[in-house]
């Protein structure tokens, strides 16, 4: 892999669902260590796009390359391998309800990576440490707050040593006072050089970390560029209009 090869290259993805063209010719390059932020109205196809990247929804057309290697959607084994390298964070956490925080983080290490239990436990505790939840290791999802659940789910993804992290509105299901703790974890990850694609409405937060804003609408990328460029004073961008609307709704202050 040369310096120029992006970690992830998505070329001309098309996806149909229920007879509708949900993704229409979407392309994206993600260099190592960068954060790309997907924004856009509800139904734009952000979640669909993220799920196409790790083939939870196999794209109908287009190509996906991870570290320069094309992902062959037909090979089950390759898909399972791909997913071990691509972590995913969901809006509503999707923790395994019958497992403690520790077991949630550990289970894929044991069942997928075939790690020894003791080694897996150590690794899981390290990740819980990273998200500040060591003292909650023995609690079940039902006993955790939303913010804590999302941090466990981040730890669960990180334990697999992903090369790329996909975050689908990681704070949208959280009460306002819990958003900060999750954003703090994401900020640390970005600073530590984790490669990420994140769909979010947290515009001002991501503006300081994102390498590029990608504005989607009706299954297409309609605008893209550096946050400063799109949000800069005197620019009449779609992104800016969308943010203004968001601010009206949430009172968030986009600088």
């Amino acid at each position: 892999m040369t310096a120029q090869t992006p970690l992830l290259r998505v070329e001309n993805i098309v996806k149909h669902l229920g007879g509708h063209r949900i993704l229409d010719d979407v392309s994206l390059n993600v260099p190592k260590g960068r954060l790309k932020v997907l924004i856009g109205p509800s139904g734009a196809g952000k979640s669909t796009f993220l799920q196409c990247v790790n083939f939870l929804l196999p794209p109908d057309e287009g190509k996906i390359f991870l570290e320069g290697r094309e992902i062959n959607g037909a090979s089950k084994k390759e898909l399972l391998g791909l997913r071990q390298h691509v972590g995913m964070i969901f809006q509503d956490f999707n923790l395994f309800d019958h497992l403690t925080a520790l077991e949630n983080v550990r289970i894929a290490l044991i069942k997928v990576k075939r790690m020894q239990k003791r080694e897996a436990t150590e690794r899981a505790m390290d990740e819980l440490q990273r998200v500040g939840l060591v003292d909650k290791a023995g609690l079940y999802p039902a006993q955790l707050s939303g913010g804590q659940k999302q941090r466990v789910s981040v730890a669960r993804a990180l334990a697999m040593d992903p090369k790329l992290l996909l975050l689908d509105e990681p704070t949208s299901a959280l009460d306002p006072e819990l958003i900060g703790e999750v954003l703090a974890v994401i900020r640390e990850l970005a600073k530590a050089g984790m490669t990420m694609i994140m769909a979010t409405h947290q515009i001002s937060f991501s503006a300081s970390l994102a390498d590029e804003f990608v504005f989607m609408e009706q299954g297409r990328i309609v605008e893209r560029g550096a946050p400063s460029e799109l949000l800069g004073k005197g620019r009449a961008s779609r992104t800016q209009a969308f943010c203004a609307k968001l601010n009206e709704l949430t009172g968030e202050n986009a600088e």
Binding site: G81, G87, F96, I107, A108, V112, Q143
Partner: protein, 231 residues
């Protein structure tokens, strides 16, 4: 009163104890097999490939839709006359009973398991797959343990029913509790006394089974899976 007590202790209890042992030898394997069949059939009905799911649906409607007595007669009386690849299978009364009860119970158990599976949010399957779990492994490791906890109260109920309908084994000549009871009642003409005691035996069986099931529920209890909840 004393005469009654003596009769019970001298004639009824020793005989019923042997019958009880026979009943237990039918109930325990039938219940365990029933749960195993129920988990397999229930899972295939929800996650299996189309033909398999359809086959399981057919199995369930067949065994829920016909009287258990008819099923018993089939396994005991009819099966020996059916040639399967040149072989005729003859089941002993005990075996026929176990097979009949396990298959019937399994059909009902699969309903509870299926309900439990459907109550688990789909997102957890997606999350497991995103971590690199195969579909089979994510069902086995993630969904089934939760579904089983949700289904446990219903499955327990079915086992309680099984204890009671195990008395039907007596009609294909098995000398279990009810069969033995009927024998003594016929010989002594003391129907009231005998069947009262038989009833008490079943009551004890059911109480013990309920206790064991409750222990199991407590052991498997996890915050967020309150088994007293009605869902």
């Amino acid at each position: 009163m004393n005469e009654f007590f003596d009769f019970i202790m001298a004639r009824v209890v020793p005989a019923l104890n042997t019958g009880l042992w026979v009943s237990v030898q039918i109930i325990v394997p039938a219940a365990l097999l029933g749960v195993a069949i129920g988990v397999t059939a229930g899972t295939l009905r929800v996650y299996g490939a189309k033909p398999l799911a359809k086959a399981m649906n057919f199995y369930v409607s067949l065994f829920r839709g016909t009287p258990l007595v008819v099923q018993l007669y089939f396994w005991y009386f009819a099966l020996p006359y059916i040639s399967i690849g040149g072989f005729n299978i003859v089941l002993s009364p005990m075996m026929a009973s176990i097979v009949a009860f396990a298959l019937c119970s399994g059909a009902y158990q699969s309903e509870y398991i299926r309900g439990g599976l459907l109550s688990i949010k789909k997102g957890q399957l997606t999350a497991a797959q995103a971590l690199g779990f195969t579909p089979v492994r994510s069902v086995v490791s993630i969904v089934l343990p939760q579904a089983f906890r949700r289904a446990l109260p219903g499955c327990g109920n079915e086992i309680i029913y099984l204890i009671k309908y195990s008395s039907l084994a007596s009609i294909i000549t098995v000398n279990e509790l009810t069969g033995v009871g009927r024998g003594i009642a016929k010989a002594t003409w003391k129907n009231t006394e005998v069947f009262m005691v038989v009833g008490v035996y079943y009551l004890i069986l059911v109480t013990v089974a309920s206790f064991i099931l409750k222990q199991l529920e407590n052991r498997l209890c996890i915050p967020g899976f309150d088994s007293n909840r009605s869902s």
